[in-house]
Structure formats: structure tokens, C-alpha cells
Amino acid sequence: MAVLTDFKGEKPTWCPGCGDYGVLNALQRTAVDLGLDPEDMVVVSGIGCSGKLSAYFGSYGLHTIHGRTLPTAQGVKLANRDLTVLAAGGDGDGFGIGMGHFIHAMRRNVDITYLVMDNHIYGLTTGQTSPTSDPGFVTKTAPKGAVEFPVHPLSLALSAGCGFVAQGFSGDIPQLSAILKRAIQHKGFSFVNIFSPCVTFNKQNTYEFYKSNVVKVDDDPEYDSANLGLAMAKIEQTQSIVTGVLYEHNRPTYEDSVPNYSKTGLATAQHVLTEADFERLLTQFQ
């Protein structure tokens, strides 16, 4: 069984105090708790501070280009459904340039888990407005404050038919790790948005802010994550400043829906056609 050090890759170079440490930490714990093997896992990450997660986590990794984690991760999973596949990136990566893929990946429902380290800012490029930046938030590209209606990832996910929608906070590792556990176990596409403060460029969406404002669905005994209406209402009520698993619903995965798709990893099989195969295939041209 793999232990914590097995899930340690390169030494992180995030700024001291960066929320992404918490995400890494929670993910490492989760992997150990779930008894996963780092060599049967792939983390596909985007470009951004968040995108460095694949290098710091000790599994196989694919540090792809900006905004394309989800197509790539789906490709990985389709090649080998025996792997545990995670996609991870930032709010710019996922909800800016990657928005189209985000919606479509949820519709398609390939069995992967998507973590967004949402710091409401472009970190690696040193502080521009992100799609989740609060209205009025001042950045280098919006010196008078952001004017766009921010992306609401959770609502979009629900509208797009995502079967697992959760939100965590990198300041609450036990909860985050519990969420990640369920997300990875969920059959189908699971989406976990994570408040992961950028201590360097975002002095507004801080640890303190979340600590004092976040509502946990776990604290609400009435809450039922199987109920879509409740999920929508909760998000509305809390203006999305809510953590926990908001919605979980099983529908068949893409892998199980497409006709005749291999029950085991394609990557590990032999795919040689016999002359009989060719004969059969060629009759149509005769």
C-alpha cells in the first residue's frame, strides 16, 4: 500500500502560504486513504500556478497547455479506464480559456475528477482579472475594477448535467479531503471547485474571508445532496460561498454508454487484426 511519501513529487515552489499547498496536501491524504497506487493515477494539469500540481504530486502526470486539461484527461481515461484520472487547474485555465471544454466534459460524463484551484485571479501571470474575480475587484488588467458578471462554476455545472458538484476550501483540509474522496469514488465526471487563496495577488478572497463566511452543507442536517433543487437553492442563498458536496447523482458514464467500448484499458491490450478480420472488413469494398 502506498504511503504519503509516495504521493510526493517535486518540491513545490508556490509562494509561502499559497492555498495550493492545501489542495496538494488534501489530495495526497485522499490518495493514501483510498489506497490508490500512484502509478495507476494520472494528474493532468493546466498552465498556471495551480497547474504545477501534477509535478508536485507523485503520480504520472501530464502538464498540458493552458485551458486544455479536460480534453486531455478524457483522452487519458478513454485510453485506459483502469487508471484513476484527475484533471487540475486554475480558474483562468478552467473557466476562462477552458470554459467550452468544461461544459462539454460534464455533458459527456467520462469518469474523471476535475479540481479547480479557484483563487479568483491569474496567479502565474502575476495578477490579472479571472473569470471568477468579484465585480469591482482591482487587478492589473482592471485597474478600475472588474465589470463582468463572474462565472458561477457550481451553477454552470448543475446546468450542464454534472453528476457530482462540490466545493472545498484549501484552508479546511479534512473537509476537502473528504470531498475529494467522494469525488474520486463517484462514477462519472466529478467537479470540485476549491477556494484556494492566492496570498500574493488577491487580498480580497483570503483565508480570513472564507473562514468567516463559508457555509458548510455538512452543517445543515436537512441538506440532501441528491436533491438538485436544494443544491440550486443552497448556492443561491449562500451566493456560492458554500462548501461540501452539493449534488451527487449517478448517470451512466460515457464509457458505459458508448456501444461496445472495451471493459478494460485499451492501452494495455494488443490490437492486431487477423487476416480473417481483414477479409471481413474488405468485403464492403468488393
Binding site: 502509478e39 497547455i65 480534453p71 483522452g75 467500448y261 472495451s262 494495455t268 487484426l273
Partner: protein, 584 residues
Amino acid sequence: MNGELGWKVGGEQGEGIDSTGEIFAWTLHRLGYYAFAYRHFMSRVKGGHTNYKIRVTDRAVGHHGDDLHILVAFDQETVNVNWDEMVDGGIVIADVASGDVQHPETGNVHFCSIPLTGLAKESGSAIMKNMVAVGVTAAIVGLTPEDFLSVIEDRFKKKGQAVVDSNLSAVRIGYDYYNQHFSHHLQLPLRPVAIAPRHLYISGNEATALGALAAGCRVLAAYPITPATEIMYWLVKYLPEYGGVVVQAEDEISAVNMALGANYAGARAMTSTSGPGFSLMMETLGLAGISETPLVIVDVQRGGPSTGLPTKTEQSDLYEALYGSHGESPRIVLTPTTIEECFRFAVEAFNLAETYQCPVILASDLYMGMSKGSIDSLDTSSVQIRRGKLVTQSELEGVSRGEFKRYQVSEDGISPRAIPGQKGGRFIALGNEHDEFGSEMEDQSMRVLQMDKRARKLQSFHELSGASVSGPKDAQITLVGFGSTRGVIDEARTALMQQGLIVAHVQVSVVAPFPADLIRPYIAGAGTVLAVEVNSRGQLADQLRLQLGYHEKIQSCLKYDGDPMLVKDIVKRAKEVIAVGSVN
């Protein structure tokens, strides 16, 4: 008749023109002839002129032919558009349903007005006019209605015997009508005596798709686009039979990255597209290059730029295939020159992608992809799967954690590759520059080592010769083409030789790495070099100049009006350049 017959049916899109052509072509193919079919169609769903040209020969050819012997015209426009192609003594069948069809007074052509639609109505339904036309044709060329039975049965039997019967009877009606009213006849070529056991009628796209399946490709991620979509259609039918999957991605960026992800994870995966989609894949080309992830992209080229002429053929994506994407990374560009090569190169594309761990672009075009031709075989027995430096689990045995050098600076530029799931092979594939272990870094000397390593890998490329050459090295004129023009250039060469010229032909099938050594003697020795291309800028000619020099003797024969190259286009241009050359 010179061993061939050119036949064409034309009318409005949506009128069943294609299926008329298909039935005619399939019948001739099954009778042992060689059929080559080129479809002319427009970028709209109904209406607008479309036609289906079939060239029937007694040997395999790679071209639909310049000449037309029989034209079946369902409307005036078909006559207008195609008249000039008619040979002397040719026959035009015009449907009187489209009124009093006019025709030019040029040429010595038999013009036969026949109430195709009227006869069809009599036989039950106006839509049967196509079958009536088939019958008329049968009468002209001396086939019998029964010759069409097997094809008609295959097409219609799932709709019931009655449908089969009524189609066949429409053929008979046309057949009888012609025989009663007209007496011009044209001869088919001599019927081949023996039919090759694998006498196939297949398009470049189908051959490409089959090649991918044969290569072990089990994931196609693609977005619909003319003229590449048929690759999706074929694979969506057959991949599931082998446990694979066709993913219709939300766009081409997604498609190519899915293919990359699947390749990274050890499957064989590809994407297929045409120009506009290919342009969207440029960023990912670079990612595949630097992360050394195998990737196969099929680009079935069409008329550009932009949306351009989406249903017309062109060879104008070569520049982008060679030079698209920022920064510098190795790639292989294959341009199959025959339908057989579409199959063989599709297989090879996957082998090369894994051997050299880089993107392979398989660039065909609408003409190659959508035209169907009779061929004698596909060499399925030589299909091999070569996965390159994929490490085995046992090779990884000794390697301790963090010691696997995925990006080892090896002598041949190729490094060992592990796939997820293998124990001891963990690494990060990445788009950032990195060290031998796959850690992002900015160290100058390692950067140079990695860049040089990647550049080095294609130096040992040897799997494909890269060009086929015929004729003497010191020809008066050497015709050089790439991709789909092989057949037409070959015929142009014959025509020019018949006129007493000494002509050579170089057909490039691998543009990168460029087969300079193979080609050089033919350029160095030639009096004049004529680069024949279906584009406006002479993209192949540029490669010749860049790679070999000889600027002063390289001339271009270009076509970019949407129509495929004809034999006469080349012959005319060749004579022009030779005439000018001889003045010097």
C-alpha cells in the same frame, strides 16, 4: 476508345445524383473493370449543381480522366457546365423534364433528349429517374440491365424485394427506351479477364480509416468537417467492433488534445480534420513535440483559405503542416500518393509517431479522400505494429523511484517511454522545457541538450523512402508532385513522352523529413523542373528551392480554381516551360 470510358451524371444536389453514380461505378467494378469516381458538389445541402464522374478503365488509374464520353444531364446547368469535357462522338442524355434543354453547337456530340423523369413516373415514381438513366447508359455501352442486379440488391434489399424489382424495372425501361429510339453506341474498355481476389472499390478516406484500425488505433477524437468526416463515419462503425471508440469532440482543439492524452496513456489514437480544424490544432502540435507524445493528425485538405471552397480540393495546407505552431519541434509530414498508400501510411503514421515520439501529420486532400477507385489489393499482410522505445515492465524493474529518465539525452534523440500503470516509470509529460526526468527547468545547457535531442531524432528516419521516382535523372523536364497528383502526373508524363520528350516524374510522399538525397539527382540533372501542385503559391516548389536550391530551373504548374488537376493542364504548362527554356 483507348481502353477507357468517361461517364458523368449531373443535376441538382439532393436529386440522387450520387447514388446513380455509385450504382454505375459499383456495377462496373464488380464486372472486373476499374472505376475511378470523382464527385463535384457544393457547400449547400439541396440545390446547386452536382455531378459524379466515373472513368472506366481496364487497369488501375489514379485519376478521373480529362475526357467525357457519356453525360447524363438532369438539367440545363449540367449541360452548360460539362459540355466542354465531351469528346468527339460522345453522347449526351438530357432529361426532357427540365424543359427544352439547350446545348452549344461546338463539338461533334450526339445529343439525345430522353424523358427520364417521365419514364420513371410511368414505372412508379419520379425518383426512379436515376435508374432509368442507368438503363440508358447500359444500352449505350452494351451492358444488360441484369448486370446491375447485384448492386441494386445490395442497396435496396433491406427495403424489400418490391423495391429491388421496381429499381431493376426502371433500369429496363431506360434500357429499352434507348434501344428503341437511338442507335449510337460506345464501347467499354476490354473487360479484364481475371479479377484480382481483392479487387476493391474504395476511397482514400476509407483506406485511411481502415489503416488506422489496422494500426491498432482505438480512439478517434474528431469534429465533423468536410471532406474528413467520412473517416469518422467509417470508424464509428468499425471501432466499436474492436472495443474502440469515436468521440465527437466539441471542437478540434478538444479533439486533438484528447488524441494526445490517449496516446500519452499508451493507446493509439488520432484525430482527423480539414484545414480550418487543422489550424486550431497548432498549439497542440508543439505540445506533442516537446512532451514527445506520439500523435497522429489526418488533414484531408480542401480549398482555402478560411472557409474558402469547402467542397473543393486543394493541396494548400503544406506550409502549415510543415511550419505551423510557434517555436520549434520535430514533426513528420506524410502525403500519400495513392489509395493504397493512404492505407499503408495510416498504419505507418502510428508506427512513426511511436518510434519518433512526435506528431505525424497525414495530409491527403478532398480529391484523394473522397474519390473512390478500383484497386487490386491492400497489402494487409505486411501490416506491422512497432511501438518504438516503449519500455517493458521488466526493463523498469531495476529503476528506483524518481530515476526513470523519460527524456534521456540519447544518441539517436529518442528516449525510453513509459505509460501510466507501469511500475517505476512515473514521469510528467510536459510542454515546458525540462530535464531528463521531466522536471520543468530553465537551465541553459540542458535546454540545448533537449532541443538538440529532439531535433536529432528524425535524422535516423528511414522507414519510408519519401518519394517514388521514374524516368532518367537527366530528363528534359522532370515533373514533381506530392500527394494525390501521382496518377495525373503519371499520365501527363506518358502524354509528353508520346510527344517525344524525355520526361521524369518524382512524386513526393514524405515532405518532412524531406527526402533530399533521393530527389536531388533528379533536380540536379533535369533540364527543367516543373512542380505540379493544386495550390496557388507553389508550396512544394518552395521546399525544392529551400532544400535543394536550383531556383533557376524550378517552374510551377499550379491549379487553384477548385477543380482537380487534369492531364492537359500539366501537358500544356510543361510545353510552355520547355518552349521558354529552349530559348535560353
